[in-house]
């Protein structure tokens, strides 16, 4: 059971990672002059959309978190709307935090907002897929011994890695190397993306290595 689930997780994560790589390569075939650095905002949009679509589909197919209750259509719609609102709020929240961390307030608002959308895609969207619009469950997952399945463990790792990646991405900005990727928010979004991909790959490995120690509480 555990092994099979782990394999599923690995496959899903690899799919996500590959999709991100593809977002950097494929649009160049359709769009003139597309490159990750040159037309960064386009890439941010493409990447966010792709990752979110993929995640939602994966979530629907794999059903890592089978809800026990059969819910009505209206219930489902309200859940969906709630999810949308949560996602939007998380974008705003990330935007605010990024600005508080020192991002420009008025100039390049679009860039900052798209970066926060990307971060939300890597973090909040995963939570929404896995846990639903349930803040209490989120709080529970992000604490020691809070994870109840390997999916939640993977969620922990990818979220932390994305945020850490974004954080480290801020480091090269002050350097005087005059590289195109030092422009705000390219280094940060690239950092977050690399962090997310690293998290996707690390998570199954980490779970595999620690499978003896990981004992999940039953729900």
């Amino acid at each position: 059971m555990r092994e099979a689930e782990l394999r599923k997780l690995l496959a899903a994560n690899l799919l996500c990672a590959v999709s991100i790589v593809l977002t950097a390569l494929v649009p160049a075939l359709f769009l003139d002059g597309f490159s990750v650095l040159g037309t960064h905002l386009t890439w941010l949009c493409v990447c966010s959309v792709c990752v979110s679509v993929l995640n939602v589909t994966l979530c629907l197919i794999l059903k890592p978190n089978p809800s026990s209750k059969r819910s009505s259509l209206s219930n489902k719609i309200s859940r969906f709307l709630k999810c949308c609102i949560y996602f939007f709020m998380s974008c705003i929240l990330f935007h605010a935090i990024i600005v508080l961390y020192g991002a420009p307030l008025i100039e390049s608002v679009t860039e900052t907002f798209l970066f926060s959308v990307l971060l939300s895609t890597f973090t909040t969207l995963q939570c929404l897929c896995l846990l639903g619009p349930n803040i209490q469950a989120w709080i529970r997952v992000f604490s020691r011994n809070g994870a109840m399945s390997i999916w939640e463990n993977s969620l922990q790792i990818t979220t932390m890695c994305s945020i850490l990646g974004g954080w480290f991405g801020a480091f090269p900005i002050p350097l005087d190397w005059d590289r195109p990727w030092q422009v705000w928010p390219i280094s940060c979004s690239l950092g977050a993306t690399f962090g997310y991909m690293a998290g996707l790959i690390i998570a199954p490995l980490w779970i595999h290595w620690n499978r003896k120690q990981l004992t999940y509480k039953s729900r």
Binding site: L100, Y101, G102, A137, I139, S143, P174, D178
Partner: protein, 1119 residues
């Protein structure tokens, strides 16, 4: 917030219980706090750091004093027979040889670049490229010559330009009259030329613009900042060079090419790009020579060389050996060139060019004229006589300089000056005698010639020795001292860390870790001093002190090492405990990793010039990250959530109420951090930066409405600060007594604010609008700051003399009625004062009944005893804040308000995080708190409009309360220093609050237990309310905690300093060392000194309060 100690602390009640317990002992708390050892220990650690800093500075920062004198045409330096001759018009001192000079400076033209070796088959990219110079030198040996042009370190462009124009050896700090600009204030070649009506045209590196403002007849500056850009400057010069040369409207033309230097920085010398660049220079020289007239001297010089990696700044052979090429279309030299090009010091160019152009030699020149350029084309005797003349003038000028310099500074050794003086006077005397003899024609030609030769060599000897003496004290790094200083600082850091761990563990800490090391140090100092006495060497105080510091450090570590086995044995005897200890230690280490990681990042950032430049953004970023990490960690550990099984469905967690408070506090902190970014000053390294609009004083605002608005806002916020401090004090009951300090807080604070507001109003009012009142304004501008100074010092003195802010109500004398000492308060406050005693009356009565059973009669209620330490610190900080705000521009008071708010929020976050984490050790301040406190200190250094560069210092601060004259240098230095290190001062004095705040904010948790009426429980209830008196309960722990806090603070400060020092050592050849790293080091070390002294003051204030509290208790007991 949650801190609702209600103005009354039951410590008084508790104290009687203690009295009962301890019988008739005289002091309330029998054990005394160790005050002096703690202060002594901290002072000793500070001394260790200071000696490290001093040692390092003496090896790294070479200083020199700039003289304001300048030479003039009428100076009597010319020897007798010539001084009466009339000079041709336009010449000073000697007839000029050339009316025009072209000086081409090719930045970083290493000597090897200019050398041409036809035999070389496969030249490197930088070799054999300047073929035209070789062609000139071989085809016209009497017209052209190549020299090895030896630069003096530091080989940075700015210092070299200074050297090439003043003829002196610029050090990193040339202590002149004005730090505010980079402009050269010493007498220099350009100033002399301008003074004598010559036209100087410049093109190239825009560094010159800052150095010589308004000196140029015409100038074409090009930006030098971007090192990656190889061509802008050079192409710009080439565009203007030939037309300018042809126009002839110049007497000295300077062209400063930067391409070679930038190419070195970008690619290194061994690169095809360098070959291209040098070839371009070769072509430039070829066509330039075509444009020159016969009366023009061409000088091609490199200002310094470069290393194999293309850097410069240090003193290696490759860096100091530049090239100098001299050419003229009229014959220059009487003799053939030597086989190997002669090496001449760079400063020699200045007197040579000055006398060739017929202007006075700059006053501070220590160079020697290049005599062969003065040979002319006469016979050997007249040639030698001419050379003797210039040598004579040169020597006289150098002697005059040395004399003036030794009057203002003592850094040149007196004996050597004496020796030089003798050498000089004998040579001059002989020269004059010789001239007199010659006039009487008493000497024959061969004898005369040999005499002239020997005299020339004596002048040369004098000039060279004088230069050597100066070089020795001005222009050499002392690597040994630098490394020694580094080691001392590193060892002191380690000591801080070890001692902060050790202080809690051991009993005989002070004896073994303070007394013995101090003895070691003292013994070494005495031995060293005796050695000096016996060997009769000159006493070097710095070496003496640092050797004492090193010895005491060794003593400490020796003692520490001696303990180690003992502890290991102790642990070894209990193996199970040891294993638990290991696991715990592992956990502690992991907990330490986060704050230490942030500290590591901060220290690492000191090693990159970009990060130093961007530090204003880096510090708040790291602070925000540290706080976020803390929250994340608390969350991860489940401290923020309601404990499970609390009517919660499993798998769902929600936050506690306190956690929400914590999150709100963090939000406020982040907002503060962001807002503080609006007060930043700019560095010139960031081209697009705009300095904050809040930095200039209000007087400079044109818009009257905006001016008034800002003024009102500043004053309102100032009043708000006073209100906030007073309500805080009132909240904790520290405003009830009628002590002088409390009265001062009540009446003095508003008065201070009034004075500051008046000062701002007067200072910012438009100059002309006041008309007749002008004189009154002049007085007011001085009087108001003095009123603030006076009031603040009165307040501080009162605080020192009588720091208690406690109002005791002794029910033994006045039973029943409650006296409210303060009348004019709002009704709610009256209610508060009425209600609180009533609440406590009930408790007192119950207490009384209990105590009566044990034959005791009455109780004492003490207002504000629970926050007596913090209250003193808060009052002191507010006063200091007022003083520092006065020294800053008006609108920076907003930044100060943010500072106070942020410090307050940080203290609360620290307290909350502690209580949420369930910290069991209330007496030790976690690293997180100390590091965040220091990060905030450096953040506000920038947010009060400062930058670690000299032009960014707010010099205006020296004239707050003074008209433009100071009798001493000390007072303005103190004022400017206080202005610059304002945030360091405030945060360091406030450091003990980190320890006190959690006690002040103790939760009143008595409500729960109130229902139980057992006396034991009640005693516990009373215990819960002790607040800061808990510290007094265990005075030893209190003093240890203060010591530990001080050591941790010094450790973090020291780690930052160490990073700066190491960066300065490792990167001493870096392009930016004199622009970024050295000023950063200087500011950081001064900040360290200021912080550590203020830390000591803050801790002493706490100790002083403790003394007063002890006295108060004993007085109470005697009554």
């Amino acid at each position: 917030m949650q801190c609702t100690g209600q103005g009354l602390v039951l410590a008084g009640v508790h104290h009687l219980a203690w009295v009962e317990l301890w019988g008739l002992s005289l002091s309330v708390f029998p054990r005394r706090m160790q005050r002096w050892p703690v202060l002594l220990f901290l002072a000793w650690v500070c001394f260790l750091f200071f000696s490290g800093i001093g040692l390092f500075m003496s090896g790294f920062l070479l200083t020199r004093i700039e003289l304001a004198n300048s030479s003039s045409c009428s100076d009597p330096l010319v020897p007798p027979p010539w001084d009466k001759q009339s000079l041709p018009p336009g010449s000073c001192w000697v007839p000029r040889r050339f009316p025009k000079v072209v000086l081409v400076i090719i930045d970083a033209l290493r000597f090897e670049f200019a050398l041409f070796n036809p035999a070389k088959v496969n030249p490197l990219p930088y070799e054999n490229k300047l073929s035209f110079l070789h062609h000139l030198a071989t085809s016209q040996p009497h017209h052209a010559r190549l020299y090895r042009f030896v630069a003096d370190p530091p080989t940075a462009t700015m210092q070299r330009i200074k050297g090439l124009t003043t003829g002196s050896l610029p050090t990193f700090i040339d202590v002149g009259s004005n730090f505010a600009t980079y402009a050269i204030q010493e007498d220099n070649l350009l100033a002399q030329l301008v003074q004598n009506g010559r036209r100087v045209v410049f093109m190239g590196d825009d560094t010159w613009e800052g150095l010589f403002p308004k000196k140029f007849f015409r100038s074409y500056f090009f930006p030098s900042f971007n090192v990656k850009d190889l061509h802008t400057v050079d192409n710009g010069i080439l565009q203007y060079l030939y037309p300018t040369v042809n126009s002839g409207e110049w007497d000295l033309l300077i062209a400063h090419f930067l391409g070679v230097d930038h190419c070195g920085h970008k690619h290194g010398p061994d690169h095809p790009e360098m070959a291209k660049k040098l070839t371009q220079m070769n072509e430039m020289l070829r066509s330039l020579v075509d444009h020159l007239g016969n009366d023009t001297l061409l000088l091609v010089a490199g200002d310094h060389g470069m290393t194999e990696t293309g850097d410069h700044g240090g003193d290696s052979q490759r860096e100091v050996n530049a090239a100098l090429f001299v050419y003229s279309k009229t014959p220059l030299f009487g003799t053939d060139p030597p086989k190997e090009p002669e090496a001449i010091p760079q400063v020699n160019l200045v007197p040579t060019v000055a006398l060739l152009l017929g202007v006075p030699i700059p006053y501070s020149n220590i160079g020697e004229v290049m005599a062969e350029l003065f040979s002319g084309d006469g016979d050997t005797v007249s040639e030698a006589l001419q050379q003797l003349l210039v040598y004579h003038i040169n020597a006289k000028q150098v002697d005059r300089f040395l004399h003036s310099y030794s009057l203002v500074a003592q850094d040149l050794p007196a004996e050597q000056l004496q020796h030089l003086q003798e050498l000089f006077s004998s040579a001059v005397e002989e020269h004059i005698q010789l001239l007199a003899q010659m006039q009487r024609a008493m000497l024959m030609s061969p004898e005369l010639e040999s005499k002239l030769r020997s005299l020339i060599s004596r002048f040369q000897l004098y000039l060279r020795q004088a230069r050597a003496v100066c070089t020795q004290s001005w222009a050499r790094f002392h690597p040994l001292r630098m490394v020694g200083g580094c080691t001392l600082i590193a060892a002191s850091c380690l000591l801080c860390y070890v001692a902060s761990e050790l202080a809690t563990v051991s009993d005989s800490f002070y004896r073994s870790c303070l007394l013995y090391p101090l003895l070691w140090g003292l013994v070494t100092a005495v031995l060293r001093g005796l050695a000096y006495v016996f060997t009769q060497e000159e006493l070097d105080l710095l070496l003496l002190l640092s050797s004492a510091a090193a010895a005491s450090l060794l003593g400490f570590f020796w003692q520490w090492w001696g303990w180690h086995p003992k502890r290991a044995r102790l642990l070894g005897s209990q193996p199970p405990l040891a294993s638990i200890g290991l696991r715990q230690r592992l956990r502690v280490w992991l907990g330490l990793a986060f704050p230490m990681g942030i500290l590591l990042f901060r220290c690492g950032a000191m090693f990159s010039d970009s990060f130093v430049v961007a530090e204003a953004q880096v510090a708040p970023f790291l602070l925000a990250s540290l706080v976020m990490l803390l929250i994340g960690k608390l969350h991860w550990d489940g401290r923020l959530t309601v404990p499970e099984g609390h009517k919660q469905p499993i798998g769902f967690s929600s936050y506690r109420k306190e956690s929400w408070h914590l999150l709100c506090l963090v939000t406020v902190l982040l907002v503060c951090l962001r807002l503080s970014g609006f007060f930043h000053q700019c560095r010139e390294e960031i081209p697009h930066c705009r300095p904050s609009v809040f930095l200039p004083p209000l007087a400079s605002l044109r818009n009257t409405r905006a001016k008034n608005l800002f003024y009102l806002l500043c004053v309102a916020l100032l009043a708000g600060l006073v209100y906030a401090v007073r309500s805080w004090l009132r909240h904790y009951g520290n405003l009830n007594s009628s002590d002088p300090v409390v009265l001062f807080v009540r009446w003095g604070f508003p008065l201070v604010v009034l004075c500051i507001a008046c000062y701002w109003a007067v200072a910012s009012s438009a100059e002309d609008s006041l008309g007749k009142l002008q004189e009154l304004v002049q007085v007011a501008v001085i009087a108001f700051p003095w009123a603030v100074y006076g009031l603040a010092s009165i307040g501080l003195l009162l605080l020192l003399c009588h720091p208690m802010t406690v109002f005791a109500k002794d029910s033994r004398e006045s039973a029943g009625s409650i006296v409210t000492p303060y009348q004019g308060i709002p009704s709610s406050k009256v209610d508060l004062l009425q209600v609180i005693p009533q609440i406590y009356k009930r408790m007192q009565e119950s207490e009384k009944s209990r105590l009566e059973r044990r034959s005791c009669r009455a109780t004492v209620a003490a207002y504000g005893l629970g926050s007596v330490y913090s209250a003193a610190l808060v009052v002191a900080l507010t006063l200091l804040g007022f003083l520092l705000m006065l020294l800053h521009a008006e609108r920076l008071s907003l930044a100060f308000l943010l500072l106070f708010l942020e410090a307050f929020v940080l203290l609360h976050i620290h307290t909350r995080a502690r209580s949420l984490a369930g910290d069991t050790e209330p007496f030790s301040v976690p690293w997180f708190a100390v590091i965040s406190w220091l990060l905030a200190a450096s953040q506000f250094f920038y947010s009060t409009g400062h930058q670690p560069v000299f032009p960014a210092i707010h010099w205006n601060a020296a004239f707050v309360g003074f008209h433009l004259d100071h009798s001493t240098n000390l007072l303005p230095a103190v004022l400017v220093g206080a202005n610059t290190f304002a945030s360091h001062i405030l945060f360091a004095v406030g450091c003990p609050l980190l320890l006190l705040w959690p006690f002040v904010c103790e939760m009143p948790s008595s409500q729960k237990k109130k229902s139980k009426r057992e006396s034991q429980e009640e005693l516990q209830t009373v215990d819960k309310h002790m607040m800061e008196m808990r510290l007094r309960e265990s005075p030893e722990k209190f003093s240890t905690a203060l010591l530990q806090l001080g050591l941790k603070y010094l450790f973090v400060l020291g780690a930052q300093l160490l990073a700066c020092v190491c960066a300065a050592v490792i990167l001493r050849r870096h392009l930016m060392v004199w622009k970024v790293f050295a000023p950063k080091f200087l500011f950081e070390s001064l900040g360290f000194v200021v912080s550590s002294i203020c830390l000591l003051l803050g801790i002493s204030l706490v100790m002083r309060v403790d003394c007063a509290v002890s006295a108060w208790f004993s007085q109470l007991q005697l009554r």
